[in-house]
Symmetry: C2
Subunit: 464 residues, 2 copies
Amino acid sequence: MSQQDNPSVLPEAPQDEPATVESLSVNAVIEALHEERLEDLKAPLLAAPPAGLARLVESLPPTERAQLWELLDAESAAEVLPYLHDDARTSIFEEMEDSELLATTEWMEAQEVVDVIDDLSDERGQILIDSLEADNRARVESLLAFEEGTAGRHLTSSHLSIRADVQVDVALRWLRLRSGVAEDLDCLWVVDPEGRLIGRAPLAVLVAANSSALLSEVMDADPPSILGSATDHEIVAHFEQYLQPSTAVVDEQGLLVGSIEMAEAIGLLREEADHSLLKSAGLDEDADLFAPVLPSARRRGVWLGINLLTVLLAAWMIGRFQAALDEIVALAVLMPIVASMGGIAGSQTLTLAIRGLALDQIQSKNIRWLTGKEFGVALLNGSFWALVIGGITWLWFRSGPLAAVIAAATLVNVISAVLAGVIVPFALKRLKIDPALSGAVILTTVSDVVGFTAFLGLATYFLL
Amino acid sequence: MSQQDNPSVLPEAPQDEPATVESLSVNAVIEALHEERLEDLKAPLLAAPPAGLARLVESLPPTERAQLWELLDAESAAEVLPYLHDDARTSIFEEMEDSELLATTEWMEAQEVVDVIDDLSDERGQILIDSLEADNRARVESLLAFEEGTAGRHLTSSHLSIRADVQVDVALRWLRLRSGVAEDLDCLWVVDPEGRLIGRAPLAVLVAANSSALLSEVMDADPPSILGSATDHEIVAHFEQYLQPSTAVVDEQGLLVGSIEMAEAIGLLREEADHSLLKSAGLDEDADLFAPVLPSARRRGVWLGINLLTVLLAAWMIGRFQAALDEIVALAVLMPIVASMGGIAGSQTLTLAIRGLALDQIQSKNIRWLTGKEFGVALLNGSFWALVIGGITWLWFRSGPLAAVIAAATLVNVISAVLAGVIVPFALKRLKIDPALSGAVILTTVSDVVGFTAFLGLATYFLL
């Protein structure tokens, strides 16, 4: 096998070389669609892994996306759907007849059907549930009993549990006789007679163990587990700590409910990362990069409106110092500098604080040390750059008092923005408001208002 | 087993209830350290998973961090070190004697030793290499032959390869007789006589297969693989696509070099996410939240200096319109609004574009569609909010021409900032400059300079 036709090179195909369809890069696929080489595309599409295909689908503008979707059979479509973000998926559902949708769900696992139902209208979701066969429906309804965004929704259908008093060779024979053991099953979960989780028996251990040993002798006792009600964030944190291929999910009584695979955690971690990154710009992590203009504009417009309110507040503060601005035109020239330095210093602290909170690193016992440290950083950097800005102002406008005023205002603003950068997200989290969403707006407001007020206020007092 | 003493509750212990040391939350640990209940801490620390312990260590201020580190024995320290970020690790190395360092490395796998060497001075690294036993040293040196940040550096030491013409029962017996099979081994890699990768045989498949079948009959043929020279980014993309518990690493000739586990990809994905999030604020993803004041201030100060240059440029542009500002003081009051609306609209686009580039979703064939779409969004939102801002200005200053000027300037700035938001990161990536780092600075410069110039320029032309 040469590396050339290895599917692993998919995401990194060179951007401007003549694209072969084999590489399935976004460029190659768009080119093939434009040239209507549809037959060339079919084979590589059907061979591609579903998660990769989902990302490809999300990288296509609406026309090309619809063309590509047409090429997928019901089975491929069923495999890809669970990996799409909500928005992209919804846009595809809108194009599908109910009968097509039902055809795809026949290929899905219960957990994937549930994912799909979450994105459908209640009515359409019910049609789908009603169409399922009895035991599949029972499984889907048991998953739906868990709230969206909790561990119960991410259970694999392939976990296997076994009693502790079974011999290793019996367990292996049991596995051999069972049909439909998942290819990537990594362990058996060991339970007591009541069904409570008491151990984990990795396949590698079973294979290597003495065949007459009991599972209770070879298992890892008391393996880490999570509750069915654990949030997506807790699932990610759990996998990042324990780094096991799968983790057991239990109920409040310790009864084994199922298990979650690390592959699921990879997806959740990506979602969490997207959330942190996109929320700070008022964007939704499920938003579709290639959505049409109108829905994109509507969503983002709201954020512009919120920003307008905060900048109007800043403008109103400036308006209160019209006398000073009227007298000394240099104030208008220099005032963005003060606001901007505070904004940058504050957003550095804010970014670190939001990440620290997301990773549960910042808690009530270390927030004071952290605030003290950030204050120190702000004092040092604020003083240094205040002197630089004062110097530049003196060189530019040859006014000692003006230089002193801008230096003092810069220092004040850097310190207050940095303190806001650590305190605001912590307070927001306490109030159960998402700091990734609101932190940046509040911080900008603080750095603008304090910056303009300090600079123009000091100028009014000392220079008029 | 009750959920109470399940280690999985670690990261989510309630913040303000009386902390038990069993929970190992940041709060509980700091409290125990302050009350000098060191013996209470030891047992839970030694039982905690290394990656979780590493995050705990990084959540402690310097004094508490040093206290905690003292409590770990060489084995625990060795397990934790590979999971620490560079900065935190370096700060710990500085405190360690060479002899202590050598003691910890005795507990590490070769891959982990290599991680540690990367963080040491050349001299200290060489001392460490020289101290290793011969076969361990050979392994470390073979890993060091790969460049930092490539797949070759992340190889597990536990991969096993086998020939395709072996029977399943022979393979299983071979595994049973082998000592030291890794507990979480998920598959055997099947190679041809030259050592080229030709298949993957998951343990679950081997266990369930007919014992007289040949591996060539039960294996997945031509499994996805990556090159030893693949970057961390490519590794993450690969795991996100294929979602397999481990992936084979091959050289240019297709020869099996080793394998990487999904657990490693989880860490790399977190790093990639941190990079996207932190770079935009000019922060390093390896920076230590609880680093002392001086190094933190030095690192962040540079970013403030860069920002100062961009805002000085904006101030200089404003300075060119002093005549207008002198005449109409309302211009100074209103001008931040224009710059800010452009900045927000542009940073939304920029954030989406940086993420799309990071996920390889944006390529040359769809950038045009995307630019067109973003232009449409900017036109719609820009027009709507320009009218709103014009209306507010008219109500505030009762000047129709001023309202018309600010509305026009807002529209111009929103459109140009949004176009910059999609074109700048794409261009930076082409130039091999990290868009996550430089994109935001350039965008702010564009929205400030265009915003001030458009507003004050139009005002000079039409209102004076």
